[in-house]
Symmetry: C2
Subunit: 325 residues, 2 copies
């Protein structure tokens, strides 16, 4: 950590040369500067902004913040693939909505049934098995399924600049958490390998589980009932439930992250609230206000309050690691 | 950690002298030996029992395992004190049960109303305020309230041998978690100071909370509704929800911990499942089968499966730190 701190000190002092850039995929600009200054402030002993390592909690949204979310959140592809895989055991799905439309490849028609249809698809694919079985299903899917546009594994569709930011914060004593609307057990099998974030630092939406002894062997059975929705106002609730202290830095990309950023900003001392703004049609996607689960109120509030807004097109040298640098 | 590992290696090898005993308040015996052997096995590289540090998760019950729980769980004293403190604002409590009996000091009569009475007392004292306000209330109480028998702060009624065990496990790369039926927000304000366990490693029972903006300031309001009961079959559920991986060591003292120990034992490789058995009428209390929330099935299962059972009277040199060594 000493070397990292020295780099931060140098980065914060423009007169001194930077030994090694901790954020090489970030272009120099206001966004990068705000990150470096924040980290320098909270890690410099004797600084009025100093925060003890135990309190250096950073919360990251996942979909659209750490990895892409277009043309639809990647968990929806998992759901689709699971419906296809399970269809032979459910001949009735050929004629029964929302399954019938989904099996014909028409996601839009499948979701026309609104929340009820979404819930049916979710429960048919996420409940009924044990937690161990579900972990295995996700692990297999995530190492084989490909993104329809790029042909890459979904876990390759993670943002290189955000990976650098995660590593940079950890090198400076931060504990990094995911706080996502996605399913917590959908993320945990791969977040440690892909993001360096262990399962106990992943907060997400969940269904209920039940402890049972099956032939004397204890299992946790996943029940078709929502336990917790970790989105919007649910994010501060989830943070308090699982972390029990307020983050000093929070990162999101949509209005579903707004309450998390508000909650983070409301603590004392220096805070870093950052929105990733999707502005790059060529290397990624460009969307905000018009998009479902988009960024509208959050963008206005970020500008009004001086939060960091990352312009992906201008601020990021590379979006994905697989791009040529 | 190198020094700690060396000590473990020495401890596991009776032919070599022990440089410094990591568990000085434990008498030599089967319980202490089982702990030392387990830690030596999972931390020795190249050993077939080796477990990578990231997977060294240890789960501790709190009431009766890390601190005492007699004459009643300490959170009940908190509840009682809060009813007294709030009584002036609730003149109706003078005649309304269960409050009237409680205010007369008759806990037994107050709880005669069963679960409904207990729930009324719980919600009247634990809900209605913000999470920040509740943290302040608990912090003040825990630094001033005294145990009725010993006259000590409740946080002094922690078991010295268990503090040594927590430190020993952490020195060997373990992450130590509390998994308690007690209220999670009742524990978090003091577990870091008393046990070295940070808030994000505390799992407990909870009531629901709601995010609100009050005059533009975000708060989490504690609602009079149960969210999660972290006891019995709830403990493995809570562990999966918050940690997302199975502990390799678990410590309890009652049948409410049995499922946690079963869940821990069912994983592959070497496991440490340990029951603290209250056998010391002089220095602490002696109870098991006849006690409410006692140890009955768990004791039978521990003996049948060869789990470690700590005989407090025989195995512990000191129970509390305040005792003369």
């Amino acid at each position: 950590m000493t070397a990292a701190l020295a780099n931060v000190a140098r980065a914060a002092d423009p007169a001194r040369p930077l030994a090694a850039d901790p954020l090489p995929s970030w272009n120099d600009g206001a966004a990068k500067k705000s990150i470096l200054q924040f980290v320098a402030g909270v890690t410099t002993k004797g600084s009025p902004e100093f925060v003890p390592p135990a309190e250096r909690v950073a919360a990251f949204d996942n979909d659209g913040t750490l990895w892409a979310e277009k043309p639809m959140p990647f968990q929806a592809f998992f759901m689709l693939d699971r419906v296809k895989a399970l269809a032979p055991q459910h001949p009735e799905w050929q004629t029964q909505e929302p399954f019938a439309s989904l099996l014909k490849g028409d996601m839009k028609a499948a979701l026309a049934g609104g929340e009820r249809a979404a819930s049916q698809l979710l429960m048919a694919t996420h409940a009924g098995m044990t937690s161990g079985e579900f972990e295995k299903i996700v692990s297999e899917w995530v190492t084989t399924a490909k993104h329809p546009k790029t042909g890459r594994l979904f876990t390759e569709m993670v943002y290189q600049p955000m990976l650098e930011l995660l590593a940079y914060l950890r090198a400076n004593g931060f504990k990094t958490f995911i706080v996502s609307g996605g399913g917590v057990e959908f993320m945990r099998p791969w977040t440690e390998r892909v993001y360096g974030i262990p399962p106990e630092q992943v907060i997400g939406s969940s269904i209920k589980t039940k402890f049972e002894l099956r032939d004397g062997k204890p299992v946790l059975v996943r029940l078709p009932e929502i336990n917790f929705v970790d989105d919007g106002p649910g994010k501060p609730v989830g943070i308090q439930m699982q972390i029990g202290r307020r983050p000093i830095a929070a990162f999101g990309n949509s209005d579903g992250d707004l309450q998390m950023l508000q909650w983070t900003a409301a603590g004392p001392g220096q805070r870093l609230c950052l929105y990733v703004h999707h502005t790059d049609t060529n290397r990624e996607w460009a969307y905000d206000r018009a998009s479902i689960g988009g960024l509208e109120k959050g963008l206005d509030e970020a500008r009004a309050r001086g939060w960091t807004v990352v312009d992906m097109k201008a601020d990021w040298k590379r979006v994905f690691a697989f791009e040529k640098p």
